[in-house]
Structure formats: structure tokens, C-alpha cells
Amino acid sequence: MPRPVQYNITNKPLEQPISFVSSPDGYMGQGFFASKFSDVVGLARKNSIWPLPFATSCCGIEFMALMASHYDLARFGSERVSFTPRQCDLLMVIGTIAKKMAPVVRQVYLQMAEPRWVLAMGACASSGGIFDTYSVLQGIDQIIPVDVYVPGCPPRPEAVINGILRVQDLVANEDLRRRHSDRYKELMETYGIQ
């Protein structure tokens, strides 16, 4: 006998039929609106993140579910999955990265234009996961900087949506000068980039 479904069985009424992104904080008067440039840029970037999926194993299946109609990442402005790193903002590393694959991930990261973000999806990408062995990279943060880790083996699509939302928070609040700062350059140098 199938297990009774115990969640998502009561229909909640929609609070709003369509939700809009609210405008950034600012000063509004008749016929004008003043705000910070970085807020507007952040708002635009945040809601149009182009992900580049680097899917190598079973987490990739969850990613497909995430992109398909049921979970539909398009709702968060990320429906445009691109397979060229030069157009993408967010590198999603999905699945086990073998040591032999590490230079490929790194090259893909280097080919992305700034500003770029990285999301490590699943236990393997975050820490090597169950593969504590000679052939598997013990977390992609050994070769590239990672912004958001999504735990799970594999994580459910909801968890990845949450991860994407955390990336959006980072994108929206990022200082426009961050990528030119000394601190950022130091961070990059620890990975041997530039």
C-alpha cells in the first residue's frame, strides 16, 4: 500500500496571484524616484541570473527536476540555462568532481566573465561526500571560490531553490566595487587566479 502523502495536501489560497519584485529603498516624490545605483544594478542582476550547470552525476537529475515545470526555476528569473560560460553569471557545480575533472571546472570558471558566482550543489561538490578516496576532489572549494553550498545527497529541488535565493541575496547586496577590492584580489590569489 502506498505511503499516504502527508504534505502539500491542503491547498493554500494564493496571497497574491502574481508577485512583483518590489522597488529598492529610495526617496520618491512627484515624478521622480531617487535610489542608489548599486541597488538598481543589484535588483536587475539578482532577478536575471543565468546559471551554467556543470552536472556530473545524480545531483544533475535533481537539477533537471528543478528546471522542469514542477519546481520551475524560471519563476526566479533563472530559466535561461546557458552552456557557454562567457554568458553566465552563476556556475552551478552539480555532483562529484573527480580530480581529473578539476582543471575543467576551473577552466570553465575562468572563462566566465565577472561578476560571477558559484553554487556547490550536493555533498560531493561541497566536500567530496561519501567519496573519500584518491580520485575525488574533496570539495570544489579547493580549486575555485564558492559562494553558496547546498547540502544534501542529493538535495531536493526546494533546497536548491533556497540556495539560488541565497545567491540572489548575495547578488543583490554586493558592493559594485567588491570585485576590484584588494580583499577580493587576495581571495583570488589564494586560488592562484590572476
Binding site: 580530480k99 566536500s127 567530496g128 578516496t133 584518491y134 574533496q138
Partner: protein, 168 residues
């Protein structure tokens, strides 16, 4: 005539005498060993002799026996007679300090990648191999991962539960 293990064994004993030993038949597959320097002669005979005709190399691999002093590494050839559908297994042993074994590449082309793989994981040095370099692992790797002598990865790390990874 059906090629039985007995016929194969008699043929080989006729040719090589006492140089082959440790005859056994685990799961019906005839298995024997010899000195490692004899491997090409035995393989050549098995290949050329028309009544044997083991012309297909199914697999070539190694096993590390750390307690088997002086014979730590075993190199194992799985041979197949496709006409009679008979398989045999041939083992040679080598010292891990000097793991030199003659390459079977000239006889079986399939040995090319298999020997590279065996070198990659066990460090068996196949003399006469045309391109003996790592095939699966990263080329910078400094150890042979399937030898039972190296701890895997960093033993000092604390982010993984040791009990779950068999480190207690």
C-alpha cells in the same frame, strides 16, 4: 574434441614441465602460476599452439598481497579461447621493490591499455610497453592507489566522520 582443463594442463606440462605450478581450478577455471620471467614464453605458447589457441586477452590486472614477501604483486592474465569457449587464468608474482614484468603488448594488442591501467593503480613496470603512463588517474599522482600501503586522503581532516569512512 572438447578442450578440457586436463588437456590444457597436460599440454602445458609437456612443454614447460615443472616451471608451471600451483595448479587449481576455482569455479572450473584452470589457474596456474610461473616465474615472472617466463610469462611471454607461456603466453606465446598458449597463443601459437593450434590445439590451445588462447588468442583473446579478456583481462589483465594485478593484486597486491602485502604479506607475501618477495611476491607482493600478482599480475593476472585472463585468457579466452573463443573457438572452444574455454577460459584460463595465468598468474605471475613479482617483488614490489622491483616490479618489472615483460609486456604482453606485442602478443595481445589489448594489453596496451590494460597494462597502462595496471601500472596506474599498482605500479607494475611493464618492460617493452610502448607508452607506459597513467591512463585513468591524474598524471601528477605520486602514488599507486590500489596498493595496500597508503592511507587515503588527509588523515588529519575533521570535517568527515571517521567512523563512517572506516578510519577507526
Amino acid at each position: 574434441m572438447v578442450l578440457t582443463n586436463e588437456i590444457i594442463r597436460n599440454k602445458l606440462t609437456e612443454k614447460f614441465g615443472d616451471q608451471l605450478g600451483d595448479w587449481s581450478e576455482p569455479y572450473g577455471t584452470l589457474t596456474f602460476t610461473s616465474d615472472k620471467n617466463l610469462n611471454l614464453k607461456v603466453l606465446q605458447y598458449l597463443f601459437d599452439e593450434p590445439s590451445l589457441g588462447f588468442q583473446f586477452l579478456t583481462d589483465l590486472c594485478a593484486v597486491h598481497y602485502p604479506d607475501n614477501e618477495g611476491k607482493e604483486l600478482a599480475v593476472i592474465y585472463h585468457l579466452h579461447n573463443l573457438r572452444e569457449n574455454v577460459r584460463i587464468r595465468y598468474k605471475i608474482f613479482t617483488d614490489i621493490k622491483k616490479p618489472d614484468v615483460f609486456s604482453a603488448y606485442a602478443l595481445y594488442s589489448a594489453a596496451n591499455w590494460m597494462e597502462r591501467e595496471t601500472y596506474d593503480f599498482f605500479g607494475v613496470n611493464f618492460l617493452g610497453h610502448p607508452n607506459l603512463k597513467r591512463i585513468l588517474n591524474i598524471e601528477e599522482m605520486e602514488y599507486f592507489p590500489l596498493r595496500k600501503e597508503y592511507p587515503l586522503e588527509d588523515q588529519q581532516r575533521t570535517d568527515k566522520d571517521d567512523e563512517m569512512f572506516g578510519r577507526i
